[in-house]
């Protein structure tokens, strides 16, 4: 733990004059562990042990009885004990040529997850920042924020139903879905949003943006409000336009918060499951990593492949775990 060591001296040197914990509160070596024990036991059982077990299972066959190498098909490429990873990484791809690999990648769960990250993180942060900025200038700020924030209280399943109805594609003359009725009102052809490949992933991402913009808005709004008014006032007196004030003063000052929001959103998006499960079930080329893992595990009953996909997911997340710890330690050092 090099990061810990790097921060520890700072903490120590700062607190030397007055220790964080008063001298009179010193206790025996056992008492802290009595307070900690329930939490540590439960977390070891439900988080730490399963992670290790998942890692082991990912090298084994479908029910964890033999090595994954035994599942290799003769005459086809085999990665031995890593065969489940072979499956997890390449099964969705058509590797016959570079072009087909590229095309199938963007239809695969990985390609879709990348689309989710790019579009949903941009969408939520930009819209969240926009609402935070605009709401600050109007009298109905609480109402507008409550409306944007409301989807956070709704389950993904509920949101899925709400948006399935918006996207509804009527087979008859009448379109009862809001979007298609708008399209036909202006003379367009109704679109089957959820079954058209390419478009459907975007349609699902819109639902994600609808849910999570409130989260970004709240955090960014708090950051914007903490920017000292005098600085903005001084800039405006000097003749800076709102545009300049925003880009050259506000954005740089809330940049740390924007970075935090972006990392939190990336973590959330990587784990996205419910929206896809309820709206398309991962069909029509909308699969994402978490959904694929679920179907391998509980529909195909292949623990080896399911856990291998889970490990791929955590590998992608490790940089963010590291960032999270680092950010925490920076906060602690500033305390």
């Amino acid at each position: 733990m090099t990061t810990d060591a790097a921060v520890a001296p700072k903490v120590g040197s700062k607190k030397k004059a007055k220790p964080v914990i008063p001298q009179v509160m010193r206790q025996g070596p056992v008492t802290p562990w009595l307070y900690l024990a329930p939490a540590l036991i439960i977390m070891s059982f439900f988080i730490v042990y399963p992670m290790l077990n998942t890692l082991m299972l990912s090298f084994e066959n479908k029910d964890g009885t033999a090595s994954a190498a035994t599942t290799c098909v003769e005459g086809k490429a085999c990665w031995g004990v890593l065969e489940n990873y072979h499956y997890a990484l390449t099964a969705e791809l058509d590797t016959s040529s570079f072009g087909s690999t590229w095309n199938t990648f963007w239809q695969s769960s990985y390609g879709n997850n990348i689309k989710w990250i790019l579009l949903m993180v941009t969408g939520t942060v930009v819209l969240g920042l926009l609402v935070a900025l605009l709401a600050d200038r109007v009298k109905y700020e609480p109402l507008s924020k409550a409306i944007i924030f409301m989807p956070m209280a709704i389950s993904f399943v509920g949101a899925g139903i709400i948006w399935r109805f918006v996207y509804d594609y009527g087979t008859q003359q009448v379109q009862v879905g809001l979007l298609n009725s708008i399209i036909t009102f202006f003379g367009g052809q109704p679109i089957s949003f959820l079954t058209t490949p390419g478009l459907n992933t975007i349609a699902l991402i819109v639902v994600g943006i609808w849910i999570w913009t409130g989260f970004c808005m709240t955090i960014l709004s708090a950051a914007l409000k903490s920017v000292p008014g005098e600085i903005l006032e001084a800039a405006r007196v000097d003749g800076a336009t709102e545009w300049v004030v925003f880009w050259q003063i506000m954005v740089p000052m809330i940049m740390p918060t924007i970075v935090v929001v972006i990392t939190v959103m990336i973590i959330n998006v990587l784990k996205i499951f419910d929206i896809v499960y309820v709206m398309t079930g991962g069909n029509y080329g909308t699969n994402v990593i978490a959904n694929r893992m679920y179907s391998e595990m509980y529909i195909n009953f292949n623990t080896g492949r399911g856990t291998a996909i889970a490990i791929v997911l955590i590998l992608v997340l490790i940089p963010f775990i590291y960032l999270n710890i680092k950010r925490f330690q920076e906060q602690e050092a500033m305390r």
């Binding site: 998942t54 819209l127 209280a153 710890i325």
Partner: protein
């Protein structure tokens, strides 16, 4: 001065326009769901929810074709009173209606110099006449969707209609017992409550002890352990599903509430401890020092001082954990499944395997949203505060 104010107001027009547009986009889908959940089945399939404010279908064509002689209320001609149910009952569909309209009345064409309406128009008129004469219920709103959803009715009519006709499926009794039907939202609501309450209280209780230890105890590895905990917040749920369901299978915990409570406790802990420790650790140090000088020990400091002071943090946490567990699908799907279905599971089931109609889905979704919305709007302050305290939740 006035010109300045005017310019100021005009300058704000784009702000209002963009903001109000966004608010509309955000609220419309939910309003659509809510309105639809109160509409009768036939209406949902026939017209969009936004048409509830326009006059009923058929009225317009009735006014064009018939009102001139029969009057807007249908009573203008005493010998052909259109509010008379026995008369209207003779022309239930467009064919009978059009056949009658083609005949002469008193030696003159029925419609005068107007053309006999086409089949679609006639059907709309016939439908309107049924409402006018009281044969068909004219109500545009109904709570039957909610009844259907609560009892898990899956027929083609409504629960009430089937029960009145005695044609309900054999797992329905047509009395209060139906609210506990395992396919219904009533039972699922109770199950969700049973899952959520302990799964909210347990992690907070356990976390309070640990958070106190991290804030006011001095022990080796304190910082390292806490840094690890911060990392654990990011671990995705999916990592642990397989091993835990295997252990649960051996212990017979699959499909039990206990299993879900424990799982949610385990996964709620890292964030709960993190939030509580940030709060407890920020309490004034002198406060703790002085109770110690007065002879208190750690237990009294924890129980009488830290816990009461931490109430705002506990409130934030409770809302978070409540919403998280209430809205969770994955854990319920894997560890409870159909043996004790919760609401998210039940709705997911309606969507994926039964292809239930909108009347059922919209009502079911709204039933599941009711309590979270109440909690959210009454305690928004705590929710936002908890979120600002640093939120990464897996």
């Amino acid at each position: 001065m006035n010109r300045e104010r005017l310019a100021n107001m005009l300058g704000k027009v784009p702000t209002h326009a963009v903001l109000i547009l966004l608010m509309l986009i955000w609220i419309l889908p939910t309003i659509g769901l809510l309105v639809t959940s109160f509409r009768p089945i036939q209406d949902i399939a026939r017209s969009g929810w936004w048409t509830i404010f326009s006059p009923p279908q058929g009225q317009e064509v009735y006014v064009q074709n018939c009102a001139e002689c029969h009057g807007g209320n249908g009573k203008a001609i005493a010998t052909a009173d259109l509010t008379n149910a026995t008369l209207i009952d003779k022309y239930p569909r467009s064919t009978q209606l059009r056949a009658m309209l083609r005949k002469d009345i008193n030696g003159k064409p029925h419609m005068g110099d107007k053309a006999v309406p086409d089949a679609q128009t006639a059907a709309d008129v016939a439908a309107f006449l049924k409402q006018l004469s009281g044969i068909a219920a004219s109500s545009r709103f109904t709570i039957s969707n909610y009844l259907d959803a609560l009892v898990g009715y899956r027929g083609t009519a409504t629960y009430q209609a089937d029960c009145a006709a005695g044609t309900q499926s054999n797992d329905l009794y047509c009395d209060a017992r139906d609210f506990l039907n395992p396919r219904g939202m009533g039972r699922a609501f109770i199950n969700t409550l049973i899952v959520t309450l302990p799964a909210t209280v347990l992690p907070i209780l356990v976390a309070a002890f640990a958070a106190y230890a991290f804030s006011w105890f001095d022990f080796r590895g304190r910082h390292l352990l806490f840094a690890l905990l911060v990392g654990l917040q990011v671990v995705p749920l999916q990592m642990t599903l397989v091993p835990i369901s295997r252990i649960y299978a051996q212990l017979g915990l699959n499909g039990t509430f206990l299993g879900v409570w424990l799982f949610h406790t385990g996964f709620g802990l890292p964030y709960a401890i993190y939030l509580m420790r940030n709060f407890l650790g920020a309490l004034p140090r002198d406060l703790f020092e002085s109770v110690y000088l007065d002879g208190a020990d750690h237990w009294t400091a924890f129980y009488r001082l830290a816990l009461p002071l931490a109430m705002p943090a506990i409130a934030s946490l409770a809302i978070f954990q409540f919403l998280w567990v209430w809205n969770d699908l994955l854990v319920a799907l894997v560890f409870l499944g159909g043996s004790n279905p919760v609401m998210t599971y039940q709705i997911g089931n309606m969507v994926t395997s039964h292809g239930a109609g909108w009347q059922l889905l919209t009502a079911a979704a709204f039933i599941s949203m009711l309590l979270p919305m109440l909690v959210f709007f009454s305690m928004q302050r705590f929710f936002v505060r908890g979120m600002l305290a640093g939120s990464v939740k897996g």
